[in-house]
Amino acid sequence: MTGPDVPEPLHEVTVSVNGVRHTATVPARRLLSDFLRHDLALTGTHVGCEHGVCGACTILVDGAPMRSCLMFAVQARAHELTTVEGLGTIDAMGPVQQAFSECHGLQCGFCTPGFITTITAYLEENPDPTAEEARDAISGNLCRCTGYQNIVKSVLRAAEIRASADLGAPPLIDADARAGEAPP
């Protein structure tokens, strides 16, 4: 039993994040988002609402986007987690990261990691979305800065970068014009 004056039992939690195994000792109630951010110092994952609506904390659990604020660290043991840090580096950005940078898909950058994880997983399953599909794909994440237009563009651009054999020199495209496909 726990009570107001009894220290909580701790659990040793070992998880695999971005291919690296990490171990930390935490109480059962530690949210996975807090575990990643504060116990493992992987602060790329952000927390915007802690009730599952905003999507800023979205990470990939076995490749599927999930809200890390709606899981406990102790539940992550058997899973392979991917955070934004695992999708590329400054010198070797992943296609979605590169597309966000090219298309001005971010402003303050706080919600961005949640979008990048979400879009990365989406493009795995839908490598060539239309503008409307791209908009739909990001409709579970809130952004207060961009008005989403350049994020839609980034999804389309990321699809092109992925499709291009040579990631270094992708063909110039008109993601800009295509982003306008959506309205009737």
Binding site: H51, G52, V53, L70
Partner: protein, 201 residues
């Protein structure tokens, strides 16, 4: 938040009046009522552990009755506070003979739900409150039918035993959170609950 509703009792008006004005009955029938303590005439302190199965919180508060027009109407004012929030309610209750021979009770509640619960529970407050009121009335009905009406002479600081209440059963499903707020002495109950869930399901 405004909630109103009606309930038809099998018993005649006088009997319902007595039941709902009897703290002993109330203590037995109020959902989650742990104790009801008389503070003075028509004024009670109460402790309610309301909630569902695992999800339950304890609320402490007071209930007072006023404007009693026997056997037709009264007003009850209740206040309670617990960890997830606060509730204050004014409930107007009217009793009238029903065409069936029983009693038609009409309640009209105006509740303020504060704290976290007030900010996030709006979507389902009304529905659940109405449901809890109904549950309370059914319990009163059963109590009357079972002849459980026992005359008690109330005095200051009298503590009425809590009833069968709802200890083991889960009145509102397993994923909600319920605050059942009540009234003693004469009363009715405003059950205020909040089952809250996010985009998820």
């Amino acid at each position: 938040m405004k909630v109103s509703g009606t309930h038809t009792f099998a018993a005649p008006v006088a009997e319902v009046w007595r039941a709902v004005n009897d703290p002993a009955v109330l203590a037995r029938t109020l959902p989650g009522c742990e104790s009801l303590t008389e503070l003075g005439p028509d004024s009670y302190a109460l402790r309610v552990t309301a909630g569902v199965a695992a999800i339950k919180g304890t609320y402490e508060g007071t209930v007072a009755l006023a404007d009693k027009v026997e056997p037709a109407s009264f007003t009850m004012t209740a206040k309670a506070a617990g960890a997830p929030g606060t509730v204050a309610a004014d409930v107007r209750v009217a009793l009238a003979p029903a065409t069936s021979g029983g009693t038609e009770l009409t309640y009209d509640a105006d509740a303020v739900v504060g704290g976290v619960i007030g900010g996030v529970g709006q979507r389902m407050l009304v529905g659940v409150t109405r449901r809890m009121a109904e549950e309370f009335f059914r319990a009163v009905d059963a109590d009357i039918t079972a002849g459980g009406l026992v005359e008690v002479s109330p005095g200051p600081a009298t503590v009425y035993a809590a009833g069968r209440g709802r200890v083991d059963r889960d009145p509102l499903g397993d994923r909600g959170f319920v605050l059942g707020l009540v009234t003693g002495g004469g009363l009715v109950l405003v059950g205020v609950l909040v089952g809250w869930a996010v985009g998820g399901r």
